[in-house]
Symmetry: C2
Subunit: 305 residues, 2 copies
């Protein structure tokens, strides 16, 4: 079964201590959709301006991503520019131009509205809810968010959470949302806000998955060098959502979610190896399977007896 | 086979945002020895003053810990007082009184010197090396250290590392020792200094174990409440060393080290549930086995196919 992916699509300019690249394919939905496309069909919902390079459209198409829901409108595409500090952990936004994204109202084509799996990648919670309103038979709803919405759109976010099956957010956001220092407590608190499951991303420390009396701790892949952390969280969410949708089960189990979190971690670990989506352009199914096995190996220890 | 444990033994006064307790049994060797005693026999090497409460000696004996190498000398026992911030992550030392510890020269009784497994818990590297000099047939040498020694005793520490099989340290210390931000790089760098294996503790984020082309990532047990983090690292090291010694193999394998890291994590997760060594006083073998199985469960995910 395909997965519906909605979020931002933009042109990024990214500077790290060693490199700088402009007009990169970026935005939460771009990363998530391409990542998901390694597992299943993807219907992309988003908006770009007429300046959006044809090569980026062609790349999305080459990944068999359905772009019927991609609005191409007069004006300029959303642009983001950011700079990373020497340790690549601290990011500073240099500039944001919303452009056509400012008046984005996601519209689901009929085929897209019938898809039961959705990843609401990071955009304003009100827009995420607007997408849910259009879905005719939602089965598993995954939402990502960010510190900005927790800060300025808490009410719309809380309204969204009541409708979500899995919320994905990072450790700082989980603490910000709940006021809890302990991530274990934060995970429990967020579940009470609606989501049956919560995935808390911890960057280099991996990811925690919380469910009803179930818990999964996934380590991060031990990369020596990270070239560009941009989109790691979106790629994680896309891999996770794409894998789940590919199973096309009537109900998602915690065992399936464990595997989905590992696949998401695999995809994120590849994505940070190069700028923008460059690493995913050359990624193969075999690469993904090999790294999945590495995750298995690095977390393995024997039974008690 | 027994394990030799050398380190500090002291009386701690610990203040957290909710509690304060004085004259607690403390010190790296106390925590490590008691933790190891759940797995194998322990020979404790250390020093206390004549003011050291008999109840603490009796407790060590009740754990079947051999205290032939415990020097009880005229004077006052080493004392440490510390205070934790509201999130229990930041610790401030309020006072340190070295007392009899200032002139500690570890001396191994004949029986102790013949034990092939040793845990050099956190004390000055020169003292740790002095213990190694007295061992007649060392088989597996584990050392712990701290930021202070990296700062003021780097040369003695480097001399020690050349003789060590496994170095245990925390993430901040690994970065401090190597100058590397990436823990993956730091782990590799430390291995080049001598230790065949390196365990980097990350507190709430678990532990990384590095070996020759082998890597293990162990999550931390998801505790909702931590009452006193004091001694968590020492308890980790003690459980790890005790389990390895209990195997009494001619050579330690990476598979055994994986299990040892999990046992260490299990012991640390119990220890922080109460003040000082209080939680370990009531701990049972069944508790340890149950939590080991929880670690297995929380890190489990299915094979690719």
């Amino acid at each position: 079964m395909s997965v519906l992916v909605v979020g931002s699509i933009g042109l990024d300019t990214v500077k790290t201590p060693v490199e700088e690249h402009a007009d990169l394919l970026g935005g939460s939905a771009s990363y998530a959709a391409v990542s998901a496309s390694f597992f299943t069909g993807v219907n992309l919902i988003g908006i770009v301006g007429t300046d959006f390079p044809t090569r980026h459209v062609e790349y999305l198409k080459s990944r068999r991503i359905d772009i019927e829901g991609l609005q191409i409108v007069p004006g300029k595409t959303f642009r983001w520019s950011g700079e990373y500090e020497w340790d690549l952990n601290t990011r500073r936004t240099r500039s944001v131009e919303l452009n056509v994204f400012e008046h984005f109202s996601p519209h689901l084509p009929k085929a897209g509205a019938a898809i039961p799996y959705v990843l609401l990648a990071n955009i304003a919670p009100a827009l995420q809810s607007h997408v849910l309103d259009q879905m005719s038979q939602p089965r598993f709803i995954i939402a990502d968010t960010m510190d900005l919405w927790i800060d300025i759109a808490r009410e719309p976010l809380l309204a969204l959470l009541a409708r979500v099956d899995l919320l994905i957010l990072n450790d700082g956001e989980a603490r910000q949302l709940t006021g809890e220092t302990s991530l274990v407590k934060a995970g429990g608190r967020i579940r009470k806000l609606g989501p049956k499951y919560v995935a808390i991303k911890k960057g280099e420390h991996g990811c925690l998955l919380f469910g009803e009396s179930a818990f999964f701790s996934c380590g991060a892949y031990p990369l020596e060098d990270i070239h560009d952390p941009t989109g790691a969280g979106d790629t994680f969410a896309g891999g996770l959502a794409g894998y789940l949708a590919s199973l096309n089960q009537s109900a998602v189990t915690f065992e399936q979610l464990r595997k989905a979190v590992v696949y998401g971690s695999v995809m994120a670990s590849f994505n940070v190896e190069s700028f923008s989506l460059e690493r995913l352009r050359t990624l193969t199914q075999q690469d993904i399977e090999d790294r999945y096995r590495m995750f298995k190996l690095m977390s393995h220890f024997e039974e008690l007896r």
